[in-house]
Homo-oligomer: 299 residues x 3
């Protein structure tokens, strides 16, 4: 922690000059290295993302689609060409591959809408899913980012899913594989790691973490990057609020139900229900309190 | 999960044509059905919501109020007339009823500000509550949305509360009934279901869920919609961070205190304190580790 | 809860007049008191904050720095002069002191970027930390707000950190003291109270609360404001998702690891690992269910 600022005998101009010199300095810190690596402007990526999302969820008019898709492909080429580091093939080829994935994504999103309606008794219709369910919007952005991730595009997919994370509190790494008919109810606090595999018809509630159990390290103690660190969730699994499932070898068998607040790092066979034992609760009626109770209750 | 994209012999124009045809296709999926149901532009609803919030929290000048309220009522009529599906009475009648509710909402918000100041020792004054407490803003939007929900306006109330959810991480369904002097500290991750009933002087912390225990289904296995599925919280109850209270028959008696991380789906009598038994903790001092510990500690 | 709206015999003009009169009324409620205390426009503070953040994270060009810093200092003087209540010294002096802190903040942020890269095996480089890690942005805003808090500037620091809270779901009070190489992974739901002290090389996961155990009250039952109510976290501590650590006397000794979902309000010696005992889980395989299981499993 820095020390208390002290009265400064220097003139304001001196102080400004010193700040400029320090901030501009030709240092070699991580911020300088990040600048040297290079990165795109997140604002441009986010604008493109929201326009793709709008086309996928709303646009069915062929004339509007022709104009919108052509613009989006051109914009994607520009975004790709501005990326530092190598692309696996030309920006045009990637954009064309990406264009091919859109009909499939749209079909998946239509099924995601159905899964949301079927999964929430509070939903009044399909229209409400479109205008008032954060899951659909976060999953739309994830599904688009995931296709770019599969095309080995760097940085853009992560900027896209962090845009969804900031907007909806749902953090899905673009590397995760997620099957058909996926629904997250409420969603704030959900974290899905980059090597997670999720089957079909899976439903999550708010605060669910699908995370890493431990980080493998090499002989020099450095973390090994790229291994499967996150769990596999088979078809038709439901995971309730606040549950945490960890580890690359952990498999939740199909049809299983994981109760709220469960903390799990072992595989579970199919059609299994897991819940925490209801915690021993200390219940005390009336106004009087003993000292020990006082200690524990008052948070 | 879709298959790997493959090299495509088609020209870019062919790929574009195919994408347009697939996206525009006259299918009958859930996205097409949502479009057929019709829905308002969320952007317009959000702009109106933020303007109502500004009037309620800040505007006391009679001349400005006359102009602002007239504009807001006209805007509401436009929003209502653009809604698909039937309104229970004319847009003008609903707008007039809504206008009548504003003084009552304003009086409630003033008390919510007091409750926030009294509930948080970090608050330095009432002004800080207005500019730096998400609870006040989420609750303002909820209280306005709730009045429109009571007037049986479809979709708009949910768009409004999802705006608050996206902005503050606090998800309050407009159907919930919430009494005077309500305060949520920090708030991220809070979920309050649509049939929840909350009395006066209730205080929640971040991550509290007031949710459904199970979904009733009819003879055909379809969820029954509209039943009371969420709990009742009586007056002067405090619920600490991460607690989850579930079920339409669950009643938390007045004056009770629910500790952090409690998972509760049974009623609790008045003036009761409930907490989880502190979990058995495994504490190991020093650098050395046995294998079994290794298994558990490293997440 | 207000009563059902009833048919109203009044003309729309009458209803509008009545609403204006009620909203404008010369009452003495908490909203009127907040207006009397006075407060700055959050929009202006947020715009300034985002510009400071941009300079700290991205700007190294001396000419651009000269122009940007001069503008930021002028803007800060304007923001400070518009504040109600007394400043501890002139707006110009505070701005000059603030300018002096920027090189130190920038050096800290570069180390925070390194800590993020080292702390997350999913990170592909330093650039990704800048464009896709909410922790860096929330911590940048916190570090700037903390310097203004130390300079005893009212309201502005809290508006700044609430901006970060709304944007990233990470709620750090500007009064907290946080050392070098700080990293929060994912981050949604994190709460760090205003009297928390955090050492160097500390790593938190999503949903961690560093909060107050109880509120001290004076002889009249009023909360005492300003005491140390939040924990001390020593160097090189890691705290996993959903853990809650409470109390001003609670010290987590250096090098300790706190497991997920731990609920802790007692001090822990250095180099200690704490975890909850894995909860007794009820696992039931197959399709058939007994009634009692039904009761518990279906949430």
């Amino acid at each position: 922690m820095s020390s208390e600022p002290k009265p400064d005998p220097r003139t304001p101009q001196d102080v400004l000059d010193a700040a400029i010199e320090a901030l501009a300095g030709d240092g070699d810190d991580a911020l300088a290295k990040a600048a040297a690596e290079g990165f795109p402007d997140p604002g441009g990526v986010i604008a493109w993302t929201d326009r793709v999302r709008n086309v996928l969820l709303h646009q069915r008019d062929p004339f509007a689609l022709r104009s919108e898709l052509a613009t989006l492909v051109d914009h994607l080429v520009t975004l790709l060409e501005a990326l530092p580091g190598g692309l696996p093939c030309s920006a045009e080829e990637i954009s064309r591959c990406f264009l091919q994935t859109l009909p499939g994504i749209r079909a998946q999103l239509a099924e995601d809408v159905e899964a949301a309606y079927e999964g929430d008794p509070a939903a009044t219709g399909y229209a409400e899913i479109l205008v008032a369910y954060p899951s659909l919007h976060a999953v739309t952005i994830y599904r688009v980012a995931h296709e770019l991730h599969r095309l080995k595009v760097p940085l853009l997919p992560r900027i896209m899913t962090e845009h969804a994370h900031a907007a909806y509190g749902i953090d899905i790494h673009p590397g995760a594989k997620i099957g058909r008919r996926f629904f997250i109810d409420h969603g704030t606090g959900v974290v899905i790691g980059g090597t997670t595999e999720i089957g079909e018809c899976v439903k999550l509630y708010q605060g669910v973490t699908l995370g890493a159990l431990s980080f493998a390290r090499d002989a020099d103690g450095r973390m090994i990057r790229g291994e499967k660190r996150h769990p596999t969730i088979e078809d038709e699994v439901t995971i309730y609020a606040g549950a945490t499932i960890l580890g690359g070898d952990t498999v939740i068998g199909r049809g299983s139900i994981i109760g709220g607040n469960v903390w799990l790092h072992e595989s579970i066979p199919p059609h299994t229900r897991v819940q925490i034992k209801p915690p021993a609760q200390r219940v005390q009626t009336g106004e009087e309190e003993d000292d020990e109770a006082q200690l524990h209750w008052d948070i």
